[in-house]
Symmetry: C2
Subunit: 290 residues, 2 copies
């Protein structure tokens, strides 16, 4: 049996009892660490689970999954994913390979950023399509997520923005020379994400003056960091204010709000910076229409 086990968000103790039991029954356990990380990392997980973990990188999961699936028809193999196995990143591909090889599989669910973000006070069923922000390079500065956020906002919906993670990436130079030397991991911060959005806003304002933008520096946003961990941070403020915020260690996510219900405003105020609070009060009375 292939067990796909969600580890949840936060730390080692966020695994479910069912997940922990399954994991301990496995003869081999892989840890997928390239789409998300938990505080403490592999060492902390191993000591709490009482089990040695094999780190599976993207290349192994996507191109050498036969190693992972080896003998999984005769014994139990665990595949651990931070969050939920079908959360922000879907591991459908691995499941399909198992199915095609006649290997039964079982999913043990857990919290994902896609539902846990609800703790900031925004109602989950008022979220539209989720978007991803990637690190821009000199030559690649995609903006399509911005239009999706605007589309969601037009319908009054909030947008969860998943922020880029670069783990075990090679520089172009090392890749071309075939050197397996990897760059240090990078995790996009709320501040960097907000800055990217503000850059898009400014460029569009210059290119199309007079055009009304769906998102501005004054749009109410929520930055979240290390959700589920003891030191989680939730910061409600305007997009412009978030450019200069420091929410600490990874992982970060950003929410761009849509139409705010009074109860949502009240919850955001619990997590608002004082300077953003007045603004939110104003939003309360001016933008909410049932």
């Amino acid at each position: 049996m292939l067990f796909l086990i969600g580890l949840g968000l936060g730390d080692a103790r966020d695994i479910t009892v069912k997940g922990l039991e399954a994991l301990r029954s496995c003869s081999r356990v892989y840890l997928e660490e390239y789409t998300s990380v938990l505080s403490g990392g592999k060492g902390a997980l191993e000591s709490f689970y009482g089990k040695e973990l094999i780190v599976a990188d993207r290349e192994q999961v996507e191109q050498r999954s036969e190693e992972i699936l080896k003998d999984a028809d005769k014994e139990d193999v665990g595949f651990l994913v931070v969050g939920d196995p079908f959360g922000a990143t879907t591991h459908s591909d691995l499941v399909l390979r198992a199915v095609n090889a006649g290997i039964p599989y079982k999913v043990i669910h857990n919290a994902s950023i896609l539902n846990a973000v609800g703790c900031c006070g925004l109602q989950l069923y008022n979220f539209g399509e989720t978007v991803s922000l990637v690190f821009w390079t000199e030559t690649w500065r995609p903006e399509s997520f911005f239009d999706k956020i605007c589309k969601n906002r037009q319908m009054g919906l909030h947008t969860l923005c998943l922020l880029d993670i670069k783990v075990k990436e090679q520089s172009v130079e090392n890749m071309m020379r075939g050197k397996k030397i990897y760059e240090p991991p990078r995790f996009m911060t709320v501040s960097q994400a907000a800055d990217q959005l503000v850059q898009i806003i400014r460029r569009r304002r210059e290119d199309e003056p007079g055009e009304e933008l769906g998102v501005t520096e004054d749009t109410v946003c929520v930055g979240v960091a290390r959700l589920g961990a003891d030191d989680q941070e939730i910061r409600a403020a305007t997009l412009g204010q978030l450019v200069s915020c420091d929410l600490g260690a990874p992982l970060h996510s950003l929410v761009v709000t849509g139409r705010l219900h009074p109860l949502e405003v009240e919850m955001l105020q619990v997590n608002a910076e004082t300077s953003a609070l007045d603004h939110l009060t104003m939003v309360d009375s001016s933008t909410y229409t049932s």
Copy 2:
């Protein structure tokens, strides 16, 4: 401290280790059972958790929350929610009352139907706004969710439909007579939900012949039942086919698909009835555009 603890989906063993530890440290533990249920119910949970649970009904949570919050500034009180505390139902109201009373709170996340539904193979970031279907009465037959589904589909997005639960409801007669007699609990099935959608389609077709409908009997849908439990069911088929499906005991949810990616189609086929499989293959080549 007020602990809001998600129980996840499935059974008692789907609680997280962190949640179980917190729960056991509490002097009183409430179980919110009016928005969702776990297999086995209160008895199974109590015996696994080793703790007596107090069932909190909607009236108590919404109108008499001071009982729940009593002394929570001095001792630990647990509030258990099936799924995630901020999942399909948000318990912001209880949190705000705690905050206003100066009571610290902590959320322990878990899987919610809003992320766990990803295991059917549809990618979560391609879901649009979530909708709710309620039991129709003779005089109240809301259809607004239908238009939201169509809007999501227009943008290529899937729609998660949460299906109505009636627990501890009084009949109008008993309510008028002030009799606290409650009707047996009712849980909407995938079949009932599909039937409701088909009724709307037929009515609109009669009212506005020639008008192209955003959802038809041939739209690919996925019925899910008891997600996370050992006997979970996932059934991919056309909406018309789902009208006559029987997915067994509650809880059920329905997904109306939008534009399907080939990898999503492959995953759906794993869970498809043979008769729906050909249709899905057709959808694969005809409706997917990147």
